[in-house]
Point group: C2
Chain length 442, copies 2
């Protein structure tokens, strides 16, 4: 009988291990042939590995494998000796002794993914996404995204949150409204989740603090640089709060943790993308009405609607706090009640406003959060006052009938946060396979 | 201007901190009133916190708050002094000085969630899920599930895998077939992802090794104890493999890592659920045809169909390897080609079989995996041989035209693995909010 006993040791050397290998050592390295630069008597064969590029040197007559038979984007294994060379990435190159081809492409590349910057439109890159992502800068964006998700989970775990997985198919949407994808579920009408809102609230009654990283679906007919119809939402919900500043404090803690993680483990990607990390040591917090006044005054702008915030106003608020406080982030608090869903806790001092907030990052909303109503009677009254029905919400409401602690939470758009972190301006840049009004493939 | 500077320190004491607090110290503790045991002159008020239960003692005349006004499932803050008491959970109790009610239920509980075991049918528990999960044993199952997901991610991260987030709405399913949920996507026909198969393969060309934790959707009309129509899939895919045993070895490594994590950080939940961890030091691996023979011989069973495995046969294989090798897990390899999707790599020695495997855990399939075809021509031929069309798969196939390393991967059903770990026999027991033929709510 054969037995599996655990991870196999590979003799393929990692980029990190290569840089620490003694000069003259013989190693094996696997990777995709990223680019071949034929200089005549020597050629540089650059391998692309998950963690970076490895420069290999092909010298005529020293390798049995003919250079002309080597194709870019082939997967290969190179056997060679390690040599210091300061012009090579990481100061090390590999003098090729043997090349073994593991797999070959059948067609030439439609995009110059081996250029530092591809001179290609976003549209073209999205159309050829599985190929375009092989570019070193493109894939670095998604390593930064990986860091965001790791930081979110690891930080919240350290704060006593439990990770949950809630269904994406349901009978009724959490926010209501028309922006819901509908489907047939074994001859029953069903919808795709706009957010895990109801579930995470119900589970505060079970685990006190919960979080989820998962897809959410919005059938909005927006065609803008900041909207997607499917995106990854970083959600948390926490019980036993004093007020909604507990939630903003927790988010600030997450952002601080993220910046530390990026500095510690993702410096290479930050360098590739030329990212300057934002400041998170102190994040200003300003009430909605006050924020409107501040920008109206400073930028000489009329307040047209005191109960709404236009995208241009968000941009100006971002600009104001950058100019006045050198702040990259700003919490805008106490949003008008009518712009918030029914479960938002109204401000007892002025019920036209809620105990809620948005977080703006360089003038773009990346988070919506706030305190929720935890008292069943209050919730029931607000549902009635809005002319809504409790039908279909029985299970959600039952959690409140049977006791719920004061609580609140937030949702962060992963792609938007990543986009702002790396200084891009289209959320599709930081989405592996975006879904928008015109894009259902690849 | 106000500023957020990071996580606020709470004066609420955690269970862990409470157990380390000096006797006589005054503390504050928040939680839900799990149960009130009125003994006359004293009463025990047990608080339920995320991490466990805290016994508080209410002595008549010592607390201003009348006991009769305290309701089970209220959220409260108790101020009190710490006292050693070996009969209390953790050997510590809190003598109540003050009670502050943070929130109250409006209705009595429909289920005895404060009993150790609720004498209630699974059906009833699922119908009242948000409430039933408050039971200590119920929620412990999902802490074990949390550990599974943490172990999967942390282990794969340590092995150089990159986490990905791929779309759940798409134009075409990865596996094909009729078991796909369909929806209307802005007047285009769309489907919900049955698996991230195509995406994770394409991304092996970018990151070499990738993983995803996310929902998958199967419109199968099975109504069994082991099927769900939406579940959480733990997927990985790795490039530059020698053969499919690399994948089984990686999974074995994950399982070993998981067992260590459970022992180290989830002993409390293992105790609550009375779990005996399975053996993962060496996992037997047996070819499909051989496995059928072994059980046919030992249990005197006729082989009816040499190219299929019945659920009863899976159970017998599990039993065989438990009896003969004291093994909890067994890899069954080389599945018949016609039972595997088109992208599975056929065995060059006998193309009726594939270089693939299932992992059985106590006789239930919890993983399907294997090596995939990486050569475009071979893939194209197999598609044609199956009478399938390349239409709609252009992007997937483009990754192969432009070079892909030898690779393979697997998918693990999170709920099934959790179920088997804790010795349950219905996958709904380990799903927060199951979706099945008759269940779309809560």
């Amino acid at each position: 009988m054969e037995f599996m006993t655990g991870v196999k040791q590979k003799d393929d050397v990692s980029v990190k291990a290569l840089l620490e290998t003694e000069e003259g050592s013989e190693i094996k390295v696997q990777g995709a042939v990223h680019i071949i630069r034929d200089m005549g008597e020597v050629a540089f064969v650059v391998l692309r590995k998950s963690e970076g590029l490895v420069q290999c040197v092909y010298e005529d007559g020293k390798v049995a494998f003919p250079l002309k038979d080597l194709k870019e984007e082939s997967a290969v294994e190179v056997k060679g000796t390690v040599r210091k060379e300061e012009r090579a990435p990481g100061g090390v190159e590999v003098c090729i002794l043997e090349i073994r081809v593991l797999s070959e492409p059948t067609e030439p590349m439609p995009l110059a993914v081996n250029k530092w910057k591809m001179n290609t439109s976003l549209e073209a890159m999205l159309n050829m996404r599985p190929i375009a992502l092989r570019n070193v800068r493109e894939r670095a964006k998604f390593k930064i995204q990986e860091a965001v998700v790791r930081a979110f989970r690891d930080f919240l775990h350290s704060q006593g949150f439990t990770e949950i997985h809630t269904p994406k198919i349901g009978a009724k949407g959490a926010e209501g409204g028309a922006n819901i994808f509908k489907l047939d579920y074994f001859h029953h009408p069903a919808v795709l989740a706009q957010s895990p809102q109801f579930y995470k609230q119900m589970l505060v009654g079970v685990f006190d603090r919960v979080f989820e990283v998962g897809p959410v679906f919005r059938a909005e007919k927006h065609n803008t640089k900041r909207h997607l119809n499917e995106y990854t939402s970083l959600d948390f919900e926490m019980g036993y709060i004093e007020d909604y500043t507990d939630i903003m404090s927790m988010e600030t803690g997450f952002l601080q943790y993220l910046m530390e993680l990026l500095k510690k483990e993702y410096q290479k990607e930050l360098d590739i993308l030329n990212v300057k990390l934002p400041k998170t040591d102190q994040i200003p917090s300003v009430p909605f009405a006050k924020a409107k006044e501040l920008v109206a005054e400073k930028y000489n702008r009329k307040i047209r609607n005191p109960f709404d915030l236009e995208p241009e106003e968000e941009v100006l608020i971002g600009r104001y706090f950058k100019e006045e406080y050198d702040a990259d982030f700003v919490f805008v608090t106490e949003y008008p009640s009518k712009k918030r869903p029914f479960y938002a806790m109204d401000d007892p001092k002025d019920p036209r406003y809620t105990l809620s907030f948005d977080l703006l990052f360089h003038g773009l909303e990346i988070t919506t959060g706030g305190q929720r109503i935890h008292d069943y009677r209050m919730l029931s009254e607000k549902i009635a006052a809005r002319g809504m029905t409790e039908e279909g919400m029985e299970q959600y409401l039952s959690a409140f009938k049977h006791g719920m602690p004061p609580h609140g939470g937030l949702g962060i758009g992963l792609e938007r946060l990543t986009m702002k972190l790396i200084g891009e301006d289209n959320v599709r840049e930081t989405t592996l396979f975006p879904r928008d009004l015109s894009r259902l493939e690849p």
